[in-house]
């Protein structure tokens, strides 16, 4: 099958190459285009019929002439995987960037992962401590979850991602934990920053890093997350590790998807993005999870920047419909000098209830976080009112809520870039803040928790 080389290219458009009169070629199989200078480029079959075969080139079509030769490899794309990938830095197409040796494969896996049978999935329920209060206390992450960070240009999402990669741990302790970090379309400078940070903090030892840079072919970006997730699946479900996958920046991925869609002259959906973007994103995000009877797990934190800070833009919108919640970074908080600028109000972790409570975090967790949410929302609403009528017009009750919202941001949301708060610290801090309110306003907390954890009663002990 690999022997025959065709010289029957009829058309080259954008990333696509059209070849005539071939043997029957399988859909999604790999093709190799040989350039006159002796170099070779890989592509994938998008459309195959008796008359014409359409190939999508991974590394762009620059420099491909009509006279180039085309070979079909007779198999779909596979990647070599190995335990030794831990500690390595690879390119967006999986080649070593760190000057180390090539990966000696323990196995070769299809990069388009099959869907996990819903029946085989296990409920995500173990708490992952990130050391960041707004996540641990208010939007808890659990193993097997996919929880994206919705950010925007100019916000410190990369720092948050690195802080999570460094600090993430499971309370039960000594299990194998690994991080797979895939960057898509990031600048060289950002890549340097990531590599330095990983090396400086020693996080690299337990990490596999994929870097697709802004000047790499856009098409390569389409494969990078798939390589990362294939690696993660191998580490998790073959080698029994708990894997945290951080993908940044999904917006660049979607741009690449749109670019290819346009080149294929597809009917565009919203804002020019392809109509199948939901399914395509789902094929990435849904590769998180736990499987019954397997020790390992995959947890995902995809990061995306919302174009124009717009949460209704198709990329964050479709993402939000697939992922189990979202962590939203807000520019106003950055302006107020707060790091991490996580807006608790619009953030959400859908699996939080599974991962908190007695035996996981602490029995009062849900009640306290609900109460903080409600109080913070009320306090923030009042800010609008104060802007019109002034603080003096507020009732005593309202003023306390207003102060609560301010303190909440200053003390709970705000924390240091290296500050790793335990869940106990976070919960106690939440109680301290709530103590400033009248006890009768704590309607969402059971009496027994108030008596046990409210600072007023605790001091008496």
């Amino acid at each position: 099958m690999t022997s025959k080389e065709y010289r029957s290219i009829t058309q080259i458009a954008g990333p696509l190459v059209f070849v005539e009169r071939t043997e029957p070629v399988g859909y999604n199989e790999l093709a190799m285009v040989a350039l006159p200078d002796g170099s070779e480029r890989m592509g994938q079959v998008l459309d195959s019929s008796d008359e014409i075969v359409v190939i999508q080139m991974f590394e762009g079509t620059t420099g491909i002439p009509k006279t180039a030769g085309v070979k079909f490899l007779g198999e779909t794309m596979k990647m070599p995987v190995s335990r030794d990938m831990l500690g390595r830095i690879l390119s967006g197409s999986g080649k070593p960037l760190d000057g180390g040796p090539a990966i000696v494969p323990e196995d070769r896996l299809e990069i388009i992962g099959a869907a996990i049978n819903p029946w085989a999935r296990d409920n995500p329920q173990e708490f992952i401590q990130t050391g960041i209060s707004t996540i641990d206390g208010m939007n808890t992450l659990v193993r097997g979850q996919k929880l994206p960070i919705f950010s925007a240009s100019g916000l410190p999402h990369n720092e948050i991602a690195l802080q999570i990669a460094r600090q993430a741990k499971v309370l039960s302790g000594a299990e194998d934990f690994a991080v797979v970090f895939a960057a898509m379309g990031i600048t060289n400078e950002e890549a340097q920053y990531f590599m330095r940070d990983f090396e400086r903090t020693g996080a690299l030892k337990r990490a596999v890093v994929f870097l697709n840079l802004a000047d790499d072919p856009a098409i390569e970006r389409i494969i990078t997350p798939k390589l990362a997730l294939t690696t993660a699946e191998y580490l998790a479900f073959t080698l029994d590790m708990h894997v945290l996958v951080i993908l940044t920046d999904l917006t660049n991925y979607c741009e690449a998807l749109r670019q290819i869609g346009a080149a294929r002259e597809e009917v565009p959906g919203r804002r020019g993005y392809p109509g199948y973007m939901y399914t395509d994103l789902a094929s990435i995000y849904e590769r998180a999870g736990r499987i019954k009877g397997k020790k390992g797990s995959i947890t995902q934190i995809p990061i995306l920047s919302m174009p124009g800070d717009d949460i209704t833009h198709p990329i964050p919108d479709l993402t939000g419909y697939i992922t189990e919640g979202q962590i939203v970074a807000k520019r106003e908080l950055v302006r107020a000098g707060i790091y991490p600028p996580i807006d608790v109000g619009s953030s959400l972790s859908r699996l939080m209830n599974e991962g908190i409570g007695k035996g996981r975090t602490r029995e009062d967790h849900k009640a306290v976080s609900d109460q903080c949410y409600a109080a913070y929302a009320e306090g923030r609403d009042l800010r609008g009112l104060v802007a019109i009528v002034g603080k003096e017009a507020l009732s005593e009750r309202d003023r306390k809520f207003l102060e609560f919202a301010d303190e909440f941001e200053r003390r709970l949301v705000q924390q240091g870039r290296e500050e790793d708060r335990s869940i106990e610290t976070t919960l106690d801090l939440m109680w301290e803040l709530l103590a400033s309110l009248d006890e009768r306003q704590l309607t969402r907390i059971d009496r027994k928790y108030i008596e046990k954890y409210h600072p007023k009663y605790r001091k008496k002990e």
Binding site: G26, A120, R270, Y278, E354
Partner: protein, 576 residues
């Protein structure tokens, strides 16, 4: 089996074949692996097939087989407590055959062929029976499964057996035709019935905001649109868990895998409040997550609906939840764009709203062919992009359904759950149901409900003023209105789906709550007239107690105690 042809072209899930001349929507087996697909277009000598599985590696020149049959659902004993994918393959069987991940080319029948079911005939040899008529019964989990004459068959009973049989063994011969306990029905066609009737009974869900303010009927249709994170899925699951239907069909259409897992793990542990048996016993789950093949996602809602219709024909009340119909619409869009059809609004095919209406019209309360009354209530979740309700799927849905539960991001941010907006939601059934409520709950129930709705409406108006001048500027009487409506919101409308007591609120308790708040309001109004400050009333221990009562295990006694002391406590406030 049918005729053979060859593949001419493969582009994703759309495969073009030549050499066969099937009918539209017949099932075609594609390629060496015999992947299942459906005919969606015929052009000249070319047949265009939508394949339910991944087509990677499939080549032109491989063979295709025309089965000569449309996509059918297998109906019979064994459906209950099953978990299927979009084309009725049992997921546990798939896992046994191909491991934790869904590989392709594996077929698995919807009903287990090896299980034997005890069949008791209710007609005898020589009787004349018509299509749809019940010929025997089989005890199956929560129900007595009625075996019906398949549509299209009828006449004299030549032979009928009694005893234990598998679903594909012949149990009777009718009009010269063999009848088995299992029948097959094409999923895209509604099953026949005698006539449709108007719904007249509410579907009680135990969710206060739904049952009291915006009720759905048995046989009615409703939609839950809402941006992500507003609680569509939780609401759907609450309905699946607590609604007083005899059968629940839950379709997870293009949604999250972990969510399905939650359903799969929590349902077997829950018990039906009516029968005390596991909820799974009355449930059929269809799980086609977002990363499973798009074409099977498109088919999943029809598979679910056909199963629902089968139970309806036995005279049962079925509620069907589809989460989410937007994903179904998107699957249509994806397939349509692969066919290079001229798109309508936002890239959706022009036939989108026709398909939506066809689907919701399969709901309803009917008299079946055998003369029994059954119903299907349909609740579809809609996931509008960007929370924008003017998009085509939401609009297409709202034109058909009669109940609209609007989920609201603002409410979600305040952790007001269920985040159903009481100002924009509606139920076109509520007037129709007043009679039922008067008879079965309390004579003054409709009046109380209207009082609550009026109060909430008034609050919204007052809030606008408060936004401008602050609440201190309001007269006491209006301050009290705000306070009472806060009670309605916090005590009555908010309901914690995760709290063991609060998750389900029976109709009688909903009435008691509303009645108590109403009495509190009347007492408070008197107190305010007597110049008791509103703040004193708002801070009453009694109010607090009422707010927390919904979480108490001995809730009924607690409510009784509150009712007994209320008048006294107000007297104690004194005043003028």
């Amino acid at each position: 089996m049918g005729k053979e042809g060859v593949i001419y072209r493969v582009a994703g899930p759309v495969v073009t074949a030549v050499g066969i001349s099937p009918r539209m929507y017949d099932v075609i087996l594609v390629g060496k692996e015999q992947l299942m697909g459906e005919v969606i277009k015929i052009v000249g000598d070319k047949t265009i097939v939508q394949v339910y599985e991944d087509t990677s590696g499939v080549r032109p020149g491989e063979k295709v087989v025309d089965t000569g049959q449309p996509l059918v659902a297998e109906l019979g004993p064994g459906l209950l407590s099953s978990v299927y994918d979009g084309i009725q393959r049992p997921l546990p069987v798939l896992r046994d055959r191909m491991g934790d991940f869904i590989e392709r080319g594996v077929s698995a029948p919807g009903l287990d062929r090896s299980l034997k079911w005890p069949f008791t005939p209710v007609v005898k040899k020589g009787d004349t029976v018509a299509e749809g008529q019940v010929i025997g019964t089989v005890p199956e989990r929560a129900i007595t499964h009625k075996v019906m004459v398949p549509p299209g068959i009828g006449g004299k009973v030549d032979m009928i057996k009694e005893g234990e049989f598998t679903v594909d063994e012949v149990v009777a011969v009718i009009g010269g035709k063999e009848v088995r306990m299992m029948q097959k029905w094409p999923v895209r066609r509604g099953r026949p019935f005698a006539r449709k009737m108007a719904p007249e009974e509410p579907l009680i869900t135990g969710q206060r905001v739904l049952d009291t303010l915006f009720p759905l009927t048995k046989g009615g249709t409703g939609a839950i649109p809402g941006g992500f994170g507003t609680g569509k899925t939780v609401t759907q699951q609450q309905l699946a868990k607590w609604s007083d239907a005899e059968i629940v069909v839950y379709i997870g259409c293009g949604e999250r895998g972990n969510e399905m897992t939650e359903v799969l793990t929590s349902f077997p542990e829950l018990t039906d409040p009516k029968t005390g048996k596991p909820l799974m016993n009355r449930t059929v789950l269809i799980a086609n997550t977002s990363n499973m093949p798009v074409a099977a996602r498109e088919a999943s809602v029809y598979t679910g609906m056909t199963i629902a219709e089968y139970f309806r024909d036995m005279g049962l009340n079925v509620s069907l939840m589809a989460d989410s119909t937007s994903r179904w619409a998107e699957a249509m869009r994806e397939i349509s764009s692969r066919l290079e059809e001229m798109p309508g609004e936002e890239g959706y095919p022009a036939y989108l709203s026709a398909r939506l209406s066809e689907f919701y019209e399969r709901a309803g309360r009917v008299v079946s062919l055998s003369g029994e009354t059954g119903s299907i209530s349909v609740v579809g979740a809609v996931s509008p992009p960007g929370g924008d309700l003017s998009e085509p799927v939401t609009q297409g849905t709202l034109r058909i359904v009669r109940v609209f539960w609007a989920l609201d991001t603002k409410l979600r941010e305040r952790r007001h759950f269920p985040a159903i907006n009481w100002l924009t939601s509606y139920s076109l059934y509520s007037g129709q149901l007043d009679g039922w409520y008067r008879q079965n709950v309390a004579e003054d129930f409709p009046a109380l409900r209207n009082w609550a709705i009026g109060l909430l409406q008034k609050e919204a108006e007052l809030q606008e003023i408060v936004q401008l001048v602050g609440s201190d500027a309001l007269p006491d009487e209006q301050k009290l209105t705000l306070e009472i409506s806060r009670m309605v919101r916090e005590i009555f409308l908010q309901q914690n789906a995760y709290h063991p007591v609060d998750t389900y609120s029976p109709m009688s308790r909903q009435y008691t709550f509303l009645k108590l708040i109403n009495r509190f309001a009347t007492n408070a109004a008197k107190a305010v007239e007597n110049e008791v400050p509103v703040e004193t009333i708002a801070n009453m221990e009694l109010r607090n107690r009422l707010a927390k009562s919904k979480f108490e295990e001995n809730i009924e006694e607690e409510l009784k105690a509150i009712a007994e002391t209320m008048d006294k406590e107000f007297e104690a406030l004194g005043g003028k």
